[in-house]
Amino acid sequence: MNNFIMLFIYLIFAPVLGGLLAGLDRIISARMQGRVGPPLLQPFYDVFKLLGKDNLVVTRFQKFYIYCFLIFIIFTGALFFTGGDLLIVIFALTLAAIFFVLAGFAVNSPYSHVGAERELIQMMAYEPMVIMTAIGMYMVTKSFNISEIMAFKDPIILQLPGLFIGFIYILTIKLRKSPFDLSTSHHGHQELVKGITTDFSGRTLAMIEIAHWYENIFILGFVYLFFADNPPLGIAMVLLTYFLEILLDNSEARVKWQAALKSSWWVALIAGVVNIVVLAFFKQMF
């Protein structure tokens, strides 16, 4: 029963929260750049406006894929917030993300193609770290089950500091923030134009936005897992992390895909693998 309530709350409030977070993001970014910034609800205005626009597509398939993307993103988050298996959540996320990539590929224009390829590279860059995080959680809590990880009494973060650092690193990719906003950009007037979303407009683009809201909330939920024993600290850390991501977004220029891939794998190898090895060593010793 509890799960049904969670599911309901997630379905209704995740996009609201995600949209608010996006609005907050824009205000804070603006302040960092010395501007006033848009109102808090601006992302909602944008999406509503997009929903009312003419539905222009290059191919009908792109719209279809985006619907799939949205459905599976919601499904992934639902699994996560109802306490499902962490590995299945990761695999479901991959499935969803692949629909997004296929939508980009379907258009076959230069910018969306490059964007789709880069989106894939980003997936390859963050995936090991995400799976390793799940492995680490399992090593600490002896379960892949999110509800059991949530119920774990000791602070997980103390045993997984390396994995946390690694996860924060790839979080930048996942939140599509600079320096890793390789596949798409906030501003159209750049060499990438809008990357994978270049040829999307109207309702389809609105779907992408809403999917990203759902996605962001779920990813921040992942951050929260590290602090699940202490909810106030957890929420504070989630907000702090998000603030740091905004700061990073505003202070870093986009890097090349080579750098993104190499660095995230190196971080995964150093911070993640070392953490896992040390943990395995101690688990065996004691």
């Binding site: 499935l95 296929l102 230069p110 395995a280």
Partner: protein, 636 residues
């Protein structure tokens, strides 16, 4: 009992007939009839043995033993002959070494194959060999049917080549016979015989086209597999001289300290046959052969024989240092082969490297050898066999129609060959996407590994991230938009379509019925070997099924979506953004100087990161070191 012998011996009969047939109705009938018999036979084996297994059988037919001896020696003579004839001197060297041990065994030592045969348990059936029999009978059989249509077209395309397709089908069926032999043999000398027959068959099939490249690759396959055969003989010899045993079941029942060294030798043979690094080059070379051969070698036979023996040996490896190094060889292979696959644009090569990579994962699990790991390994084996057969056969048909096996030439295939593309997409999804088979097994593998060696789970994490990249970009190519395509799949023959559809349905079917597959076949085997039951929690299976259901809605949703007039009219169509003025012709735009500029999109291959030469060099060095340590760890 008679059923086992039937499965092993029956394929020889159609094989002999097929030797004298040409393309046409007689050959078609013989092949189809035999395939039906073999499939029904293996399914019947499943049902007739549901509660009796594991079971052992003897043959007292003296003539069969003699026949095997004669055939074995004939193979030795043949190998020595071709080795000298084509100046590949490693072949006679390796053959003579094996033959020396064999002859010593047969004539001087009087090993039990000719003496006291009744005391020995020659054949056995357990759930695992039934799984293997189903794979060989059904998937191998479907590939043979596909070959009917394919070979007609193959010789139509290659007029310069002499049509030896009679021999081709002869070898295919002998191959199936030998595979049945391997999975049912308990007596190691017999298993070795069948093992060598598969080596011989693959040698002949790879060299089928007779070109210089085909010959070289055939010899490479022969040499590497003979090396493995030497390991096999070494294992048998060591086992017999130290313990006096020559049966697999007795060996598996022994104390680990005794069984480990022969297991390492046999495992070495398994690693060569399953194309692990550093031996992988024979399998990538094998793609010069006609597509059905690649499909057969990669999915249901040959490489599966290699992992079959490794999975059989996994209880011996469990918890040993040697087993850990077997896992590391598998892990390195899994990772590096996936890397190399990223850099390939040749569809068959991508498939080949993905096979090697997945076999690596199976070997990784087998080396760990816990109940959960073995369970995952068998799952991987089953799912991989089906999806990979489907993919190879699809690529073969695509290649015949579009005249290329380059992935870059497959853009927009979804509009040129819609049905074929859907099958390809099912196959690709089956290889890496949730909730399809390979992903279910990868998930099982991850869970099995974290408990034992988390660091091996990390290898899986990196490997599967890479896997995702090369499959998805291929999917992207297939589904991308192209202008005014013409339908190119009309000429694909029915003999190709039927196996393709059946394999497509099976790829989905095994995922749907995966819980049943697990409880009725894999779990009993695991619990017989480990006295332990491994299953996935019902909740997770349910979630997987829900995902499957969602995915099933897709084609329905797509059909409704594409058919709805309303949706079509509501949509406006725009040209893609090109940062310039779009020309009236598609895929062109007006450049800044007013000229018409062409554009085309290509995938990333990241050669500087994942180039084949670089990765192979690393892989060969690391894996040779690991295998050296493996033998060292066993002996010390």
């Amino acid at each position: 009992m008679s059923l086992i012998l039937f499965l092993i011996l029956f394929p020889v009969i159609p094989a002999l007939f097929l030797l004298f047939t040409k393309h046409g109705i007689i050959r078609d009938l013989i092949v189809k009839f035999s395939v039906v018999v073999l499939s029904v036979g293996s399914i019947y084996l499943l049902f007739s043995n549901f509660n009796l297994i594991p079971d052992f059988y003897n043959v007292t037919v003296e003539i069969m033993n003699k026949a095997i001896l004669v055939l074995e020696l004939a193979m030795v003579v043949f190998f020595i002959y071709v080795g000298f004839r084509y100046k590949k001197y490693w072949v006679p060297v390796l053959t003579i070494l094996q033959a020396a041990v064999l002859i010593y065994f047969e004539f001087i030592y009087k090993h039990p194959i000719t003496e006291n045969i009744t005391e020995h348990r020659l054949f056995f059936v357990d759930y695992f060999s039934i799984i293997m029999a189903l794979i060989i009978g059904i998937i191998g059989g479907l590939i043979c049917i596909y070959a009917l249509g394919y070979m007609k077209e193959y010789h139509h395309h290659h007029k310069e080549m002499k049509d030896k397709s009679g021999n081709f089908f002869f070898i295919l069926f002998i191959f199936l016979s030998a595979m049945f032999g391997i999975v049912f043999s308990n007596h190691l000398v017999w298993m070795y015989f069948f093992w060598e027959v598969t080596t011989l068959c693959s040698f002949l099939l790879i060299g089928y086209s007779g070109t210089e490249e085909a010959k070289n690759n055939a010899f490479r396959a022969l040499i590497l597999n003979l090396l493995g055969g030497l390991g096999f003989v070494g294992g048998i010899g060591y086992l017999y001289f130290t313990t006096g045993t020559i049966e697999l079941d007795k060996m598996l029942g022994m104390a680990k300290a005794v069984a480990l060294i022969p297991a390492i030798f046999l495992g070495f043979a398994g690693m060569t046959k399953s194309a692990q690094l550093p031996f992988s080059s024979w399998l990538t070379g094998a793609m010069v052969a006609p597509t059905p051969v690649s499909a057969l070698l990669h999915s249901s036979t040959m490489v599966k024989a290699g992992v079959f023996i490794l999975i059989k040996l996994s209880p011996v490896f469990n918890g040993t240092m040697a087993g850990f190094f077997v896992s590391l060889v598998g892990g390195v292979t899994f990772l590096l082969a996936a890397f190399i696959a990223v850099s390939q644009n040749n569809a068959k090569k991508v498939l080949a490297y993905s096979t090697i990579s997945n076999l690596g994962l199976i070997v990784l699990c087998a080396g760990i050898g816990t109940a959960a790991a073995t369970w995952a390994a068998i799952l991987l084996l089953v799912f991989h066999a089906i999806a990979k057969a489907l993919l190879f056969l699809c690529v073969g048909s695509v290649e015949h129609q579009i005249g290329s096996r380059d992935i870059e030439d497959m853009d927009g295939l979804v509009r040129r060959m819609p049905k074929m593309t859907i099958l390809l997409l099912i196959g690709i999804a089956g290889m890496f996407l949730a909730p399809f088979g390979m992903l279910i097994s990868k998930w099982a593998a991850l869970k099995a590994l974290v408990d034992v060696h988390p660091i091996l789970a990390v290898i899986v994490a990196f490997g599967s991230a890479t896997t995702l990249f090369f499959w998805t970009k291929w999917m992207g190519k297939l589904t991308t938009l192209v202008h005014k395509p013409e339908n190119q799949e009309k000429k694909v023959s029915l003999d190709e379509w039927v196996p393709l559809y059946l394999l497509g349905i099976m790829t989905i079917g095994v995922c749907l019925f995966f819980p049943m597959l697990s409880t009725s076949l894999i779990d009993p085997y695991i619990s017989a070997v480990y006295q332990q039951i491994i299953t996935m929690s019902d909740g997770n299976i349910l979630i997987m099924l829900v995902m499957m259901g969602l995915l099933f809605l897709l084609p329905i949703g797509l059909t409704i979506y594409l058919a709805s007039k309303k949706g079509k009219n509501e949509l406006g169509y725009a040209k893609p953004y090109m940062s310039g003025v779009n020309a009236d012709e598609p895929f062109k735009y007006h450049g800044s100087m007013g000229k018409l500029v062409d554009f085309q999109t290509e995938n990333y291959y990241m050669v500087s990161f994942f180039g084949e030469a670089k990765m192979m060099k690393i892989g060969v060095i690391v894996s040779i070191l690991l295998i050296a340590i493996l033998f060292g760890a066993g002996i010390i």
